[in-house]
Amino acid sequence: MNFQDIYLKLERFWAGQGCVVQQPYDLEVGAGTMNPATALRVLGPEPWRVAYVEPSRRPADGRYGQNPNRLQHYYQYQVVIKPAPADILDLYIQSLISLGIEPAEHDIRFVEDDWENPSIGAWGLGWEVWLDGMEITQFTYFQQLGGVDMEVVPAELTYGIERIAMFAQKVDSIYDLKWTNDVTYGDIHLKGEIEHSHYNFELADTDMLFQLFSMYEAEAGRILDKGFVLPAYDYVLKSSHAFNLLDSRGAISVTERTGYIGRVRALACRCAEAYVKQRAEMGHPLKGKFEDGAVQEAGVGRGT
């Protein structure tokens, strides 16, 4: 199974579950959660089902292409189902079957792993999913985002698709993954990992980044003041990425770190609040949707 088969199959599977198959966001994000298709859509009472690949940037995780498992740019496959149906874990297991992973032949486990992201004021409870000891998915029931309690609790599934591919192809290095029959992951990304590692750790202009951070922050605030949520949120994402770069450059001391994270969070919280208000003013247009494709709740022990 080639790398691209994994996300193609997941797209198909989740489309079959009534998900909107979206595309990655066009800004740098640290994780699929930051994409407004998750970060904002989970707020409020409206139902939502979405699936998308998200290229995710973690500047500090770069290893100059030398570590077979760690990259500063990788892919997440993100699924959000809101509200979380009672059989969501069964659905997830079916998605693995669609990838050719037969649960009876493996050891699939749900091991406690609670998630939080302080820079967007979010937390949830859930698991890391183990496949024969390897973490392949992060599963979270959101409880709060942007400091706002979930009105309807969604389930977020984040597949580590490189991990799954390495498992399926039995290779020890990400770079050896076959993306297609004759093109490897390394062909596509190795040079970028090397260059970006140099940039993230050594070359990034910290004066410029500090300035950008402040400019992005100010712009987000200014746009929020005018009552526009989505453009403001873009600037939150930009400021967050600027912070991540500064952090990997070692330009932010441990003391200052909390302060910067707090500044990003304050903006994220304002966006969350404004978004909730905006959707209410719009009359929650998604209400009543996602009925057709939604899987019936057929929880264990309730079918009698």
Binding site: N69, R109, F110, W127, L131, M134, D172, V254, V300, G301
Partner: protein, 698 residues
């Protein structure tokens, strides 16, 4: 007729394993409480837990509630009836409030007074009627360290509840909890059992689960896990040894419903990495058991034992998958091990300036320097001048491993990595050892440092932490002790005792307080805190309260001397002479308190009785030896001296009437007692031995 079996099963998505063992006890306690207050007799209660279910089983339960007749007190008779014998408004009101007719009121006597009383009969309901509310109430009482909601924000649990089975023999106990209706359906093992299983009668519940590959009873799972591991070892003809880390066994037990241990291996080259790193990586990341070489006790073998929750047609699939994961993990560890060693520890110290120790207390670097200064002072204070260089070097390097990648990845390896990297850097082996031993003892059962370098460093750091945290207002309050200062105080005493270091807590705290610019008032508070901790710790060792107070009154602020004196006292505590001496001490004190101010000049010429001169003579004779014993901390000798003194004092009181009518004789005797008291006070306030019941010092 009794109900033979009652089962409540709360079916959930996978609950974190660490939550389950305490929850078993909690559910058991709640269930006992609830049944008792519902007046339902039962024979036994079992509670079981797996990641996907919490189960309460009640064996042999009464079919209905016990009858309850209660006599409730009303107004006094005198208020309840008027002179004509008619009930007053008070009586009528009382009867109405208890729902009985006024004619049915009874009487009861409390003390001398007679009251009217209402006999209230609590209805005896059938158990099947009581159970729905009772079981529902039980579930709502279960609160985990972390809880979530999934639908109704008022319904919270560790993870979503997906089904509830509630059966009393063959009857469903019907109730609703959140969005779940109770019933007779359960679910087997997630991958090896049926999804929907109908249970006809509570009695067959456990067996049906077992048929569906769920071993409900945690003890049975433990047996299966341990037996499985023994089998694996046999395959290696006893060449391997597995340490069944109890924490890891417990964790694995509650991670699976059906444990299937398997053995895997890893590349031998990883054995070059320090053992603790491998063990920690295996345990923490993958929940694997480490495997040791049978012949070379502490040498790791390149194997591991994992526990699967599933039995596939081919276990090799699972083994290979796990081996690949471990390979990557150890690759990481090897990378950190190599990278970290490229830079000496000493070169990292400078960077501790960027690590915050505590918001108001500056950086870890500042803390290191202050610890170093105090540790150096301790060396000379405790007569270990020859260690100054080693201790100061160890202090300087003490927190440098915080900045290594390995400790960043595995914080629990702090100290271990300090030792390993220091050895690699060619630091003195005693310095390296101290980097590890500074954290000993890590728990009550742990061993103390084996060398003074680590002991002195550990003492200095803990004193500094106690003083600086008090300064920052972070002292423990009630059950809160976020900076573990109580534990630090405990460790100080443990180290002092184990290493025979005659530390003066007063002096060391004052020295540290001076360096930390702590004011006098707070310094006294810290010293009081340490004294309290020592008192509590000594009592935990089993010493009597009064004896401990006595020892503290003499040997405080030296924990080493306090313990030794206490041991000496404890050895003689039942001797009659000690009891006599304490009685005498009380008498002396009482007499002196009542008497007017007297001189302490004893004039032998005014002594009328032999016992007076005998006491004076004996005191004069013993005084220098007592002083010597006190100063040198020769506590056994002191006991011998006091044993000699005791009968003389007793004899004095038996034969001498202190308050003689002749003022001169009387004052002379009081002077003698005053001298006596002065001696007593030097060997501690023995009157505390006679003041049982007064625990004002706690």
């Amino acid at each position: 007729m009794k109900l033979k079996n009652v089962v409540l099963e709360i079916g959930t998505e996978e609950i974190p394993s660490r939550f389950l063992p305490p929850m078993i006890e909690e559910l058991r306690g709640f269930a006992e409480e609830a049944l008792e207050s519902a007046r339902l007799g039962f024979k036994d209660i079992q509670v079981y837990a797996t990641p996907r279910r919490l189960v309460l089983m009640i064996g042999t339960l009464d079919e209905c509630q016990k009858e309850c007749v209660e006599l409730l007190k009303g107004p006094p008779m005198s208020n309840a009836y008027d002179s004509a014998g008619n009930p007053t408004r008070a009586a009528l009101g009382f009867a109405k409030s208890k729902n009985v007719s006024v004619d049915a009121l009874k009487t009861m006597e409390v003390g001398e007074v007679c009251y009217v009383a209402a006999e209230v009969r609590e209805e005896s309901k059938a158990t099947l009627e009581v159970l729905p509310g009772l079981l529902r109430g039980l579930i709502s009482r279960l609160i985990f360290p972390k809880n979530m909601y999934w639908k109704d924000p008022r319904i919270r649990f560790a993870r979503p509840i997906r089904w509830i089975l509630a059966l009393a023999d063959e009857h469903v106990i019907p109730f609703r909890y959140g969005d779940v209706e109770s019933g007779r359906m359960t679910s087997g093992h997630r991958f090896m059992g049926q999804k929907s299983i109908e249970i006809k009668s509570a009695g067959e519940f456990m067996e049906r689960l077992y048929d569906n590959n769920v071993i409900l009873d945690q003890e049975k799972r433990r047996q299966k896990l341990e037996a499985g591991i023994s089998m694996l070892k046999q395959n290696f003809e006893g060449a391997l040894k597995v340490e069944l880390d109890p924490e890891l066994v417990e964790e694995n037990l509650y991670l699976v419903e059906f444990p299937i241990p398997f053995i895997g291996s890893f590349d031998e080259r990883f054995l070059e990495i320090p053992r603790e790193v491998l063990v920690t990586s295996m345990k923490k990341n993958q929940k694997y058991f480490a495997v040791y070489d049978k012949d070379r006790e502490s040498r790791l073998a390149n194997y591991f034992i994992g526990v699967s929750n599933n039995r596939p047609s081919n276990i090799n699939t699972i083994r290979e998958g796990n081996e690949r994961v471990l390979q990557a993990r150890l690759e990481d560890a090897a990378f950190f091990w190599d990278e970290d060693r490229k830079r000496p520890l000493a070169s990292r110290v400078e960077h501790l300036k960027n690590v915050i120790y505590q918001e108001s207390l500056g950086s870890v670097y500042d803390k290191v320097l202050q610890t170093q200064r105090l540790a150096g002072w301790l060396c000379s204070e405790l007569g270990r001048e020859n260690l100054v260089e080693l201790v100061e070097r160890a202090a300087l390097l003490s927190k440098a491993d915080l900045l290594t990648s390995m400790v960043f990845e595995f914080p629990e390896l702090q100290g271990v990595m300090g030792r390993e990297y220091a050895l690699h850097d060619g630091e003195d082996p005693r310095v390296a050892l101290a980097l590890y031993e500074q954290y000993l003892p890590r728990s009550a059962a742990d061993t103390p440092p084996t060398d003074d370098v680590g002991a002195l460093l550990g003492l200095a750091e803990r004193v500094h932490v106690i003083v600086s945290c008090h300064k920052a207002g972070l002292e423990p309050t009630g059950s809160q002790d976020p900076y573990a200062l109580r534990r630090a105080a405990r460790c100080i005493n443990e180290i002092v005792w184990a290493r025979n270091l005659d530390l003066d807590l007063l002096k060391v705290v004052e020295t540290s307080a001076l360096a930390n610019l702590v004011e006098q008032e707070l310094t006294e508070k810290i010293i009081f805190f340490l004294r309290q901790r020592l008192l509590i710790q000594l009592k935990e060792k089993g010493f009597e309260h009064e004896l401990t107070l006595l020892a503290l009154s003499v040997a405080w602020p030296r924990p080493l001397q306090t313990l030794r004196l206490l041991e000496a006292l404890d050895a003689v505590k039942d001797e009659p002479w000690l009891q006599d001496l304490a009685t005498s001490a009380v008498r002396v004190k009482n007499i002196l308190q009542k008497a007017e101010e007297t001189s302490d000049v004893f004039n032998p010429a005014l002594a009328v009785l032999e016992a007076e001169n005998a006491l004076n003579g004996e005191m004069e004779r013993l005084k220098p030896s007592v002083s010597d014993a006190l100063e040198a901390g020769k506590w056994q000798e002191l006991m011998v001296l006091l044993a000699e003194l005791s009968p003389i004092v007793t004899d004095f009181f038996d034969n001498v009437m202190v308050m003689d009518p002749d003022e001169r004789v009387r004052n002379n005797r009081l002077a003698l007692l005053k001298r006596c008291n002065a001696l007593f006070e030097r060997v501690g306030d023995m009157t505390v031995l006679k003041s049982q019941g007064k625990r004002g010092d706690e």
